[in-house]
């Protein structure tokens, strides 16, 4: 199974070695990211997600985690509860048509002074 935190951590390290070189990461934000990724992993498994992608906005530092699912059915009580929890950790959620259904969670960056 794809681990969200592995992908997020790799993307964050790449950005830290690139445009955010020398900018300190907030420890609390990294701890928060681990909680968020655990929630995404569970949701992704329940929704039979086919892929997980992470994008970092190089201007703002905002982190977008996108899961692609063939179809989303939230009839199981656990799924909406987990969705609500996962969404509440993000600032915005985007639903779009891409390889089935794409659910993107947009989070603030982990770097100091990032928006």
């Amino acid at each position: 199974m794809i681990d969200c935190y592995d992908i997020v951590q790799t993307a964050i390290e790449d950005a830290s070695n690139g445009v955010f070189k020398g900018v300190r990461k907030r420890k609390d934000a990294m701890r928060f990211m681990r909680t968020f990724c655990t929630a995404v992993n569970t949701l992704s498994e329940r929704l039979n997600s086919s892929s997980l992608n992470v994008e970092i906005n190089m201007s703002t530092g905002a982190i977008t985690v996108t899961m692609n699912c063939p179809y989303v059915d939230m009839s199981d009580v656990f799924v909406p509860a987990r969705f609500v929890f996962t969404a509440s950790l993000a600032s915005h959620v985007r639903l779009s048509a891409a390889n089935g259904v794409a659910i993107s969670f947009i989070l603030p960056g982990v770097w100091e002074n990032a928006i």
């Binding site: 059915d73 959620v93 048509a97 259904v101």
Partner: protein
Amino acid sequence: MNILDPEFQGPFNSEEELEAAMDALVITSHGPPGNEAVASVVDENRFSQVEFVVRTLGFLSRESGAEVIYEAHNPTYDACTVKIETNDLLFRSSWISRCVSLADLITIQPTLNNTIVVSMVFYGLVRRTSV
């Protein structure tokens, strides 16, 4: 316009239209004809939750050009369905969390037109009481 008409599938175009639809629901859901022993009244608390979702989706549709479809209240199942078709919809997380937590069933399915349809089903709009 009558949202209790099974053929009705149009989106609300204004708050006035939504209000009129709510009035229609209240007026026409007072139990089946000839069954005076049981009265059905709209559960206003539940209805206001559905109204919140409809208005939220309506607002988002104006912002994004998505289409909101409100299906007629189904008295057999006491259910109403709100759908939104879009190719890209951005929510504040607090809004989508609230919408998801209020609906009884939610599905999101892709279409052949490269869009997705988000369907939310709400039960329990009508309370039956003895008179």
